[in-house]
């Protein structure tokens, strides 16, 4: 008898559990639930857009998946998409659009933008960067440029000019060496126990940032166009060996190995992003290659590592080409990336309308302008300057110049692998001290192993 009761109870519990597991999420599925997945940096614009969206469409429930700072958003998104659990609308790093589109994860927005009059307000490069094989897969929410950040107060201590604009690579390294000479004085003046004159992200821990903030900024100015790229568009091959690649590896070698003026270990701390922002704010770094967003996101009053009176302490300069254009290479170098919002290809029909409406609100002139002004990001919409917050910001006005000479990465299918090879090779240079020539050989071999020798081109290393 007793045993029977026990068995019955067990059976009931089991049935209930199974029923719970098997019931599709909730019975009250009458309302449309729109899921939005994004990283914490986009919390503000998403919140603003939702305020408007909720008022307009009270019949829709919103579910938010916010991936906080410190977590690899790209990895989460890739896994969520593969598993079929990603949001209906999600933020995406623009460089991943080609490979995500190839995977069939992204909804084709071409028809939508054709009928959306505001699409024309996005600058041409911003309309191109979200397209793959002639189709549009996302809408940019912000873009950026990259530059040399430096500490005016540290330059002052070292007796260097506070308004500084190097015109060649040599000048950068010379300035860094001068800072190195005054290291003790700087450390005393800043009240820090370590100091490195220059910091360029390197290694695999930084991921894509190594390639964008560091490698491309050097590579694009290392030789004349089109020999300054990772990909040869004419031959449709990856560049395995070139003078530009060699010179770029040499730059890393010089600052990390030869002169030892860059911090190897900063590239391997648990949270490289938070660490670089903090150490730069503390005055442990003299200059670094970095993105325009840091002004607001990191060192602004509401940033991660606020620098009080940042206008007086932090300066920024354009990255020059190797000889400042004297050998036919670019005079100034910068590169842009940025983030877009996209729609899940698997979105159910009844949600699609709302997802597109949400995109319209999120990418309105006001929200983009206000958000970019708040974070010091560059607006992908040209009409952002009509919004007061954006127009009156002296920093944003100053970096407008960069947009005139900016470039984009070679984000073709296969790029993420190439980018990983760049990270790996720079890691070998800074940790093992391999020479630029060895680095080039290693890079070439990695490319050939991955794509096959017929898909890799080499340029002569001598003129």
């Amino acid at each position: 008898m007793k045993r029977n009761t026990y068995l019955k109870t067990l059976a009931i519990v089991l049935i209930f559990t199974l029923a719970l597991i098997l019931t599709p999420q909730g019975i009250s599925e009458e309302r449309v639930v729109l899921t939005i997945e994004y990283g914490e940096p986009w919390k503000l614009p998403v919140t603003w857009a939702l305020e408007i969206f909720r008022e307009k469409y009270p019949e829709v429930d919103i579910r938010l998946i916010m991936i906080p700072y410190g977590i690899d958003y790209n990895a989460v998104l890739a896994v969520d998409l593969a598993a079929g659990t990603a949001g209906d609308v999600f933020g995406i790093d623009s460089f991943l659009i080609p490979e995500f589109a190839e995977a069939g994860y992204l909804y084709d927005l071409s028809d939508f933008v054709k009928e959306w009059p505001e699409w024309e307000k996005f600058s041409e490069p911003m309309r191109k960067i979200v397209a793959h094989k002639g189709k549009v897969y996302g809408i940019m929410i912000d873009t950026d440029v990259r530059m040399i950040w430096y500490r005016k107060d540290i330059f002052r201590v070292a007796g260097l000019p506070e308004v500084w604009q190097p015109t060649t690579w040599e000048e950068i390294i010379d300035t860094a060496l001068k800072l190195q000479e005054k290291k003790e004085e700087i450390m005393k003046a800043m009240g820090v126990d370590e100091f490195y004159p220059i910091y360029v992200p390197a290694g695999t821990k930084w991921g894509e940032a190594t390639t964008m903030q560091g490698f491309y900024m050097i590579l694009l100015g290392a030789d004349k166009d089109p020999y300054n790229r990772l990909y040869d568009y004419e031959e449709e091959k990856w560049v395995g060996k070139s003078k530009a690649l060699l010179r770029t590896f040499e730059f890393y070698y010089d600052i990390y190995v030869k002169h030892k003026i860059a911090p190897v270990e900063y590239n391997f701390v648990p949270d490289v992003w938070a660490h670089h922002r903090k150490t730069f704010a503390e005055g442990k770094i003299g200059m670094e290659l970095g993105g325009s967003w840091e002004w607001g996101e990191a060192w602004g009053p509401t940033g991660i590592a606020p620098v009080p009176e940042r206008e007086k302490k932090i300066g920024f300069a354009k990255m020059p080409g190797i000889k400042g254009g004297a050998e036919g290479e670019r005079k100034w170098v910068t590169i842009s990336g940025g983030w877009a919002f996209a729609v899940n290809a698997k979105i159910p029909e009844e949600k699609l309308k709302y997802a597109l409406e949400f995109l319209k609100i999120l990418h309105s002139k006001e929200i983009i302008a206000k958000y970019c002004a708040e974070f010091g990001k560059v607006s992908p919409r040209v009409d952002a300057v009509e919004v007061e917050e954006y127009a009156k910001d002296p920093y944003l006005t100053a970096i407008l110049e960069y947009v005139t000479f900016t470039d984009f990465r070679d984000a073709l299918p296969g790029y993420t692998k190439v980018s990983y090879f760049v990270q790996k090779v720079t890691e070998e240079i800074i940790t093992k001290g391999i020479t630029p020539e060895e680095a080039l050989e290693m890079y070439y071999k990695l490319l050939v192993e991955e794509f096959g020798a017929d898909k890799v081109i080499t340029y002569p290393l001598e003129d």
């Binding site: 890739a78 991943l96 995977a103 821990k205 894509e208 701390v269 648990p270 296969g414």
Partner: protein, 287 residues
């Protein structure tokens, strides 16, 4: 009666199949395909035979991760956790030692706090400006960034700290089961402490030691979070455990999930082989 027992097993077997056996098999199947999370080959089941395995056996990073995992398991679990656990268990049996419960609480705390928290705690502790360096500075030792200068050693110590509790509990239970009269008799015969340990304690708990080794080997080989949070790959892959290697291949650009699956399957075989060695040893001990 017997039939009813079998029926009762069905739900459990179903769960095991659904959540253990099926995913494991799925992993093996994927490892023979060219599947990747993004790009043209995303979620594509195109069989490419042993290609992933051949690539793996030519990948110096894979061998590095194997080496790191073996060192990590050997020193943090088989030496560190097991010896310290046994030592603590023996210590707790002694009477008249004060502060035993305090030590036990500390050891347990390390075990029960979430792994991510433990990782960040160690990250902060071993940081250049962390508590460890502050303590060492009292001894006149200059501060260094332990996670950078000695990443693997620091990771090993962190894992000893984290996992000793389990071995300690297991050995404590085993020691309880040894009848006291054996020690009393030995004492009457004039055996020293060491002799008692060697001839009574050790043989009587040897099977537990092997069981402990089996369990901590499995667990330590699959440690991920603690080290991933502390150092990730470490400088030049110094702390790139096999699990971290697999994670990076599968969940970082270029998201080669099939390659990661091959790495996981191969490692499963290696751990399985180790377990067989232990089981063989266990049999010999019991006979």
């Amino acid at each position: 009666m017997r039939l009813r027992g079998g029926v009762l097993l069905i739900p459990a077997l179903l769960m095991v199949f659904l959540f253990v056996i099926f995913p494991a098999l799925w992993g093996v199947i994927i490892s023979f395909t060219g599947m990747s999370l993004i790009g043209v080959h995303a979620l594509e089941m195109k069989f490419i035979g042993l290609k992933n395995y051949i690539k793996l056996l030519n990948d110096p990073d894979f061998f590095n991760s194997l080496r790191v995992s073996f060192l990590f398991t050997a020193f943090s679990a088989l030496v560190g956790q097991a010896f310290l656990g046994l030592f603590l268990a023996l210590l707790f049996r002694l009477e008249g030692i004060r502060g035993k419960s305090l030590v036990a609480v500390v050891v347990f705390l390390a075990w029960i706090i979430p792994e991510v928290v433990a990782g960040y705690t160690w990250g902060a502790y071993a940081h250049k400006h962390g508590l460890l360096n502050t303590l060492l500075s009292f001894l006149g030792i200059r501060p260094i960034n332990w996670l950078y200068k000695h990443p693997l050693e620091t990771a090993i110590i962190a894992n000893i700290w984290r996992g000793t509790a389990f071995s300690m509990i297991l050995f404590s239970a085993a020691l309880e089961s040894i009848p006291n009269f054996l020690y009393e008799a030995a004492e009457v015969d004039g055996a020293t402490g060491w002799q008692r340990f060697r001839s009574i304690t050790l043989p009587l708990i040897s099977h537990v030691i092997i069981i402990d080794y089996i369990l901590i080997t499995i667990w330590t080989f699959s440690v991920f979070t603690l080290i991933f949070v502390m150092t990730g790959r470490g400088v030049g892959g110094a702390t790139e455990l096999w699990t971290i290697f697999t994670y990076y291949r599968g969940f970082q650009p270029p998201y080669e999930i099939s390659y990661a699956a091959a790495s996981a399957s191969l490692m499963f075989l290696i751990v399985l082989a180790l377990i067989f060695v232990y089981l063989f040893a266990l049999r010999r001990v019991k006979v």
